[in-house]
Symmetry: C2
Subunit: 353 residues, 2 copies
């Protein structure tokens, strides 16, 4: 019953935790952890009314952010995480600035298959179409969340990417060019092709030419969901990082078949993604299970953060097989290495989308 | 860290639980508890896409609403509460329909002392001014929440109210007249005076004249926060039920002084309210601690569900003393019986508001 009420009041308790953080109350509680802090001390230190401090602290008692003893409040371990842990901060900012109002439309999104909450952020059909125009603070929170879950793992996987000494790497869904730049820095000879939507490639090109050796990068503009979409042939490694989670299962199979159709016997397809069933902590599992609803309600209406079993089935339906898998890379990433399955037909099969 | 992520994603997980309930997924899970339910079975039974069922169930795994085994999902005890427990349902409906969007303005409400979230519901300065015009489903959810926490306890306290055989009872903040009607039914001779805002008294009079002996009820229109406000004299019992939580501490003292000024030595003041520090379960405590923010952000910007120590200090500052107290009445109510304190000045003291 206690947990049922915490769930029933969850949005209210989230907002209280947010304001406790944003008004500096958690910071001041932590600064006074030895002696504890009174309502009046916190009110003065944070320029908040004693009434405001009181209701926020009492909500903090409900969520175990603070404990009270003889009128003095102290922060719990949870308060330190909310105030200081970079992952918790990135998650809270993302939920507040990108998801909060949008999630009020979750029922509509489930019913329609459209990201019905996106209208709270702007007049776009998917979040990808609107990223460049996203207002603040949503834009900053979106980018910090996105980068938080991807940047760190590139250095950890580059040795495996380059273990076969690839001359050409195709980065499908290259986004802002971070992986392309990491490759340029890692190998002085490799040539990269970045495939993405035309609009996205522009900002990618700017980033690459500012920071790296632009002559070794070429660009392949493509809408992979178009019926006549194609990927360029002639690459030793095809790379897809945190990309397939942006597509429905049917679309994932379609995209993997496009890749399969340009793969020779030695071509390696490397997929890096977060699978909620392959996490080392319940905390990481919970984040991925919850974050899927961002895709449902805000991003595109039909994709999710997959479990590894679902993605394996998609790989196999596309005529590929997983020849190697690593889990627990960086912040809970998995790296799947795929090859064309022996005997499987190449070329996008009819009905693939 | 697990709890930090549950808090960070709390609004998203709340919305998932809500849609699981509203689309009938919890109901169908409970109906299939013996054998478990697959995604496809639930999709068919609730006319929801398999994708929608999948993301909702995976969010349900994060909140422990469901468990999964070999592709079949079963409801947990928490799911039964969310689906069936009347208190949990009333709380979730109230949070969704009245509080959710409003709570996005909590920081502003804390900074300004105004119910900044109320603008999401209508153009009123306090929720009380707008109650009659509140749209659906907010109105129904508000009333169900309000009544859920008050109706049940009246029969339990009427014997104490009438233990002194009062001829006249003054109901301060009589609202819809429920307590007045309960008194008329309990005692065939008692006369009731209901004091409330003029607008509120109209609907109270309608209710009373439809359901009870209207000739025994009189009405005292008053804005208790006006500087020249007064209560009528000549009553044996003064009653305030779930009323003081609608006012700031300074206002509570002011109102109690107005009552004190019309109390003789034998007049009994009875206060019924919910104090979060006097609850028998952590669940009840959490609800009250969270619900205070409804007053902060939606209702009026400056009141809260008090702890018993704060209300005791207000009583004493008004020249009253608590002569009897009962806690744990009905759904966590407390009943305080007060008399004029010996030697305390009568009459509203200057600076009382």
């Amino acid at each position: 019953m206690h947990r049922a009420q915490l769930l029933a009041w969850a949005p209210v308790l989230f907002q209280a935790a947010w304001v406790l953080r944003e008004r500096g109350l958690l910071r001041e509680l932590i600064a006074r952890v030895a002696q504890g802090a009174s309502v009046d001390e916190l009110a003065t230190a944070t320029d908040t009314s004693p009434y405001g401090v009181t209701v926020l602290l009492e909500a903090g008692l409900a969520t175990d952010l603070v404990v009270q003893q003889e009128g003095r409040f102290r922060p719990t371990a949870l308060a330190y995480l909310v105030e200081r842990d970079p992952m918790t901060r990135a998650n809270m900012n993302f939920v507040q600035d990108v998801c909060y109002r949008a999630m009020g439309h979750l029922g509509e999104a489930i019913a329609s298959g459209k990201p019905a909450g996106l209208a709270e952020l702007g007049p776009w059909s998917t979040v990808y179409a609107g990223l460049a125009e996203l207002g603040e603070p949503a834009r900053t929170s979106w980018l910090e969340f996105d980068h938080f879950y991807s940047d760190d793992s590139f250095p950890l996987v580059l040795p495996q990417v380059f273990s076969s000494r690839p001359a050409r790497v195709l980065d499908v869904g290259g986004n802002t060019g971070k992986f392309a730049l990491a490759c340029l820095g890692y190998d002085p000879d490799v040539r990269i092709t970045v495939a993405d939507l035309p609009g996205q490639l522009e900002s990618c090109r700017r980033e690459v030419e500012q920071a790296g050796d632009g002559r070794r990068v070429s660009y392949h503009p493509v809408d992979l969901l178009a019926l006549d979409a194609a990927l360029p042939a002639g690459h030793d490694v095809i790379w897809m990082s945190q990309f397939l989670c942006c597509f429905s299962e049917v679309e994932v199979v379609h995209i993997l078949r496009l890749a399969r159709s340009v793969m020779g016997p030695a071509t390696r397809l490397l997929i890096m993604d977060n699978f909620w069933d392959r996490q080392q902590t319940r905390a990481a599992e919970v984040v991925l299970q919850a974050a899927s609803l961002y895709f449902t309600c805000v991003a595109n209406g039909n994709s999710r953060l997959y479990d590894s079993g679902t993605l394996r089935r998609c790989v196999e339906r596309a005529g590929l097989e997983i020849v190697d898998e690593r889990h627990g890379v960086g912040l809970g990433h998995s790296l799947l290495e795929c090859r064309g399955a022996p005997g499987a037909a190449t070329g996008a099969a009819p009905g693939g989308r």
